[in-house]
Amino acid sequence: MSKRISRWLVGLFLLLAALTTANSLAQAAEIRVLLDARPLSLEVKPQQEGGTVLVPLRAVLGALGAEMTWDSKARSVNIIRGRTSLALTIGNTAATRNGTTIQLAVAPRIVNGRTLVPLRFVSEALGSQVDWRSRDLTVAITSPAKRALTLATTTSTYDSGLLQAILPAFEKAFDYEVRIISVGTGAALALGRDGNADVVLVHSRALELQNVAQGHFIGRREIMYNDFVIVGPTADPAGLRRAANATAALRAVAEARATFVSRGDNSGTHVKENELWRAAGLTPSGAWYLRAGAGMADTLRMADERNGYTLTDRGTYYMQQDKLDLVLLFEGGEILHNQYGIMAVNPARHPRINLEGATDLIQFFVSPRGQSLVASFKDARGRQLFFPNAHLLR
């Protein structure tokens, strides 16, 4: 019995030895690629021709956060990363970078259906640093250093999660590290005015335009919208469900003296609420009208506790829905449109702000890529929260 076992053990040992030797022999010839000291996984092994290392295009693009478009007729690929655009053609040693022609040592080729491109050229052209370690056949790519950019936005925008979802793509492609400060609308604009932020994203059109007119901001673009809705108790004592429009809905609340909780903090939502009251020809006052002085989520909570109505942006309501007993009672109408605008702080007022970063971010939001990222952002139940409308130059 023991003789059989020992024979098996010897056989196993020999097999393992053979495998490890074969493995190391194979590894000895393989080139490794590291991106910021982490190994890059490539679908196809890197190839070497002369002194040039070729790698699969898709892996490199993914690693560097770049995007590409493929023209199958011309067999050429257009790579975009931040402000840089590269054009490469299969089998052609001529490539262009932002329009300037550059000669390659080795032309891009297709192997096993995968496009291989010169690693050093592409990486360096897109801003990275490339080092070759001959000792262990390693190519080390170092991403460009990230520049800091400060974005001030509103709490409801931040709480929706949109920025956390789409800004990483921007940061990666443009080499920024974005610091988001989320405060009330008024404070966000103040941060921009004081030069404590580089770029501001809020949804209070009148206030934004006013600030631009006063010379505090430049380069304003409208990028997306959502809408406001009125929520309240299921019982709906004021009968909002039957209201013809938003103005009539608020009038009904006032007439019924039903509890209404206002943001009371000069936020975009509050400004919109005041607009509605003005349109209804009313100044709300009385024990039924509570000025909370709080953020949207807190205001919703208060309305929930008090069985009252409130005006809210759809996104925050969707997010809080599962924790509230409030239901959506009124929606729709041009007046409930909630437009988001982004603008850079005026460098004439604050020379040391990161104007380049602000401009890049604005460009990103209005670009097809940014706009499609906005549209594809969904909440936990798969509902779209923001609707891109940058093409509508108002």
């Binding site: 405060v183 404070a187 103040a190 000069n266 000025r291 909370a292 002085g293 709080a294």
Partner: protein, 230 residues
């Protein structure tokens, strides 16, 4: 900064009714809380201070921990109790002045209990033998201890007041900062900051500091009057 001071003076001088309502509410909420906390806390602290240290080690550690209870945590706990879904929901106390007083009382009690116990215990060490040997019964001993430690106890109450008038997390949570109902100086400062009215927020802050300073120095004078010549 100077603009903020000018703002503060202007606000006070024009007797802005909203401002004075806020100031009054700050004083009323914190004052009531401290009075209630003293009514509970001084007897409890005295009892604690009379006990020998080893026998109350556990309670003492708990009290010391609660002294540093973050106001926002206290606010959260009370919020959950008073919420419609909470155990005390039917009382409909959320977002009311009563709720604010409740939470601040809870914040002040550990401070008053802890500091009173310290004052009584140290006085106790000093005068216990003398009082006993002069033929006092237990009730007179306790009463004498409280009287002798009265400045230490007053100090405990002042400290408790200082803590609650300056806090914002608890009253914000359970009060909701509702204009005209539950808005106090600290929550008003948060709101004005959020709105970007930094100068106004600063002015309110100065008023709050002034208030705290006036009250604390007044009480301090009372206390110092008793410890002269010691």
């Amino acid at each position: 900064m100077l603009e903020a001071i000018a703002n503060a003076v202007r606000l006070l001088a024009t007797f802005d009714p909203e401002l004075f309502r806020i100031i009054w509410l700050s004083l009323f909420v914190s004052g009531s809380a401290v009075v209630l906390a003293a009514l509970c806390g001084v007897p409890l602290g005295t009892w604690l201070g009379l006990k020998p240290v080893p026998s109350v080690r556990a309670i003492t550690i708990i009290i010391y921990t609660l002294m540093g209870l973050p106001p926002v945590v206290a606010g959260l706990v009370i919020y959950m109790l008073l919420s419609r879904r909470g155990m005390l929901g039917p009382l409909n106390l959320l977002f009311t002045v009563e709720a604010m007083i409740i939470v601040q009382t809870l914040l002040a009690i550990p401070i008053i209990v802890g500091l009173t116990a310290i004052a009584v215990r140290s006085k106790g060490r000093e005068i216990r033998d003398t009082v006993l040997v002069l033929g006092a019964d237990h009730r007179l001993l306790v009463w004498t201890l409280i009287r002798e430690a009265r400045y230490g106890i007053l100090g405990a109450v002042i400290t408790g007041f200082g803590r609650v008038i300056a806090e914002v997390g608890a009253v914000m949570m359970v009060g909701g900062n509702i204009e005209g109902h539950t808005r106090v100086l600290t929550t008003a400062i948060v709101l004005e900051t959020r709105k970007g009215n930094f100068a106004l927020a600063m002015a309110l802050g100065i008023i709050l500091l002034l208030l705290a300073f006036i009250i604390n120095s007044g009480l301090y004078r009372l206390q110092a009057g008793g410890t002269d010549g010691t």
